[in-house]
Symmetry: C2
Subunit: 483 residues, 2 copies
Amino acid sequence: MGWGDLGALGEPSKETPNLDQMAAEGMLFLDFYTANPLCSPSRAALLTGRLPVRNGFYTTNGHARNAYTPQDIVGGIPDSELLLPELLKKAGYINKIIGKWHLGHRPQFHPLRHGFDEWFGSPNCHFGPYDNRERPNIPVYRDWEMVGRYYEDFKIDLKTGEANLTQLYLQEALDFISKQQASQQPFFLYWAIDATHAPVYASKQFLGTSQRGLYGDAVREIDDSIGKILNHLQRLGISENTFVFFTSDNGAALISAPKQGGSNGPFLCGKQTTFEGGMREPAIAWWPGHIPAGRVSHQLGNVMDLFSTSLSLAGLQPPSDRQIDGIDLLPVILQGKLIDRPIFYYRGNELMAVRAGLYKAHYWTWSNSWEEHGKGIDFCPGQSVSGVTTHTQEEHTYLPLLFHLGRDPGEKFPLSFASEEYQRAVERLSGLVQQHKATLVPGQPQLNMCDQAVMNWSPPGCEKLGKCLKAPESDPKKCPWPH
Amino acid sequence: MGWGDLGALGEPSKETPNLDQMAAEGMLFLDFYTANPLCSPSRAALLTGRLPVRNGFYTTNGHARNAYTPQDIVGGIPDSELLLPELLKKAGYINKIIGKWHLGHRPQFHPLRHGFDEWFGSPNCHFGPYDNRERPNIPVYRDWEMVGRYYEDFKIDLKTGEANLTQLYLQEALDFISKQQASQQPFFLYWAIDATHAPVYASKQFLGTSQRGLYGDAVREIDDSIGKILNHLQRLGISENTFVFFTSDNGAALISAPKQGGSNGPFLCGKQTTFEGGMREPAIAWWPGHIPAGRVSHQLGNVMDLFSTSLSLAGLQPPSDRQIDGIDLLPVILQGKLIDRPIFYYRGNELMAVRAGLYKAHYWTWSNSWEEHGKGIDFCPGQSVSGVTTHTQEEHTYLPLLFHLGRDPGEKFPLSFASEEYQRAVERLSGLVQQHKATLVPGQPQLNMCDQAVMNWSPPGCEKLGKCLKAPESDPKKCPWPH
């Protein structure tokens, strides 16, 4: 989902009454970011509190290329990383992930090996259907074992866009919450549903209900589900004891617009890019009785902060043996403080841009290659800012492109290199970058190698279902990352 | 101001708490339009309830050119037009205009000749400063006579952006309301302030207070003023007896962005164009005790509806001897009804586009000429949609460009001509256009002739102030309208 997909953030159809109400009852973050303009690195960052370049969710196969976790990826979340649920366990939390894991699908990467107690969902995106010969359909797991595959046991009708997956994930969430409330055990629920990722789907009851087409139907179903989850917490009497945060893992995929892609509001470009449209996200903190209603924050936030903030809520300290990029947002959320901190915009292991305060400096610009663009792949449809949305990788290390995001949230008017304002701002930003780079220890890149043999041929549990497939010979290769 | 300039509509700095609260207490219109992408035709339409092509606020000097009311214009509002205040008078209303009139500055066009009882403000835009030789500075009137000139007696500091005009206009409004309340006489206040038109200004207390720069300072001052006006109505105990509507006369002038131009949110282009960014506007109806709080409407609305709605509120019928384009919105506002009606997008006397429901068909596309574009005049900075934001006037009469504004509010993805959806929608829209054109009787064009001799050399009252200037010989010419 994109920043502009919420009614509260100016989506002109205004079809998210529940999220809007969540914002009205809680705190709406207007300057909240993902750690990467792409799904799995962003999720890895959320759960580790660390930038993808540290936790390994990047590639070195090509300069400044985005990489993620398709089913032929060899890598995944390293054992050396400490995930939020692993830490929360120490405070007695029961942890559940519902939806897409996306941190590696091979046995050693299984979420239950990384701190989660329960899982219902899939290890990869719900792409398909596949033929189960060249490529297996993506499995859906319940805890340790698969319980079926997408398109086979968990239907997605690509023609009509119908699939009841969000309803399944909603029911799982409500049941888990009920169970935890009944057993009086603290819990961490990571509700990481697949929607609104393409191929976009919605349940029958939502199909055709949005002004925005199928994508809007999917947004409405998410909105409705979140309303039901919050209501459930209230009905069970645990809302004042449960911190809820809503956000997304990357900007709307404009490449799939208008049928399968959403809105980044007034921001430039979308998913895959380090412009605001690729990484600025809707974000709402909700905690009745603790967060005063109707608050808005301009704190620069990041999904990695959810790691540190959750630890803080559980009375835990973040690990001290490694660099943590997330910060504890509780002073922001509960006392309205503003913490001065930068936002780093990466593509692969290249720092493309940095923001501090209202200034953003681009050290590299790139949308996608001319070659890909020529094939109709467009991350910035209808948008073209000369020298900014470039189709070659342009380096600006020595004279960064500078934008003032207050006056120019759409990144359309670079500041004059000659201005005093430019020099003052770039000096500060470049100092932050130097500091950042000086102490940076990149993790082992996890997204370099691909191998058809590692795909989801025979996930645990496949025997019981008669769903084991024959894997081809191992033939590891460098993964191709076109973006 | 543009659609995207309100926090409630997704402006990322969220700096309009009073307008946002007005929306939360009233009805927010998401699909509300001006009658023209330019100031004075739009204002003429508001006050007459009729499209500029009917009331004369257009030019035939060039095909599909926008025209307005600079101080060398010969024309103005024809006597044959019936203005809202003229009609309200019959129901005992006292009518005041505060701010920019813009319906002609020659004596016969004076607002007090057209139904207003009081005026404080100027006949034209606050451009300047002028030298009073080639061109006089724009006068500011109190009622029948001028009381000074902009830049002379009413300072605007173009360097710092400081001017206290909005404060003057605010105080005028508060005083008028108090007076009317004291005398128990019904009133119509047309608070038509100059801000945020370029050159952008704000009072000292607002300068530098916005994240958005000077333009944001001006928006904040307007927002603050509206809060004060609404408060004043409440304090006087007449808020439940006073209908208030907030809107703008055209989309944000992106040509002046980022310093002097605002935001049209997710919409395409800005002022001067018939894309959504040029004509879709923020719009809020407020009437405590009558409009339930927090309502949102998708009614296709237009500034011309304020004519019909105001008459309806006063218990009056619209004139029956002429075509009125505005509709009475009270059933929408009070009962939540949706009235099926089209929106017509004109440039000059050319119907460029039409909207009905969620479909919009463009019969002509044009941003501006290559010549003007080459001079750096850009109505769509950073936006470029192939075949849509054209720099030549492109006719699509026989195969209109069709957009679905629900799925594609940014007008980036024209529907396929071959689709059934296209054919169904275009059939309906073209029917509406035929119907509209069949009965259209264009008014005498008022914006064709310009003459330096008619400028504000010696407005009434200049003698008392010693501010009469010598007019040059009359030399009427066709006005040049580049856009």
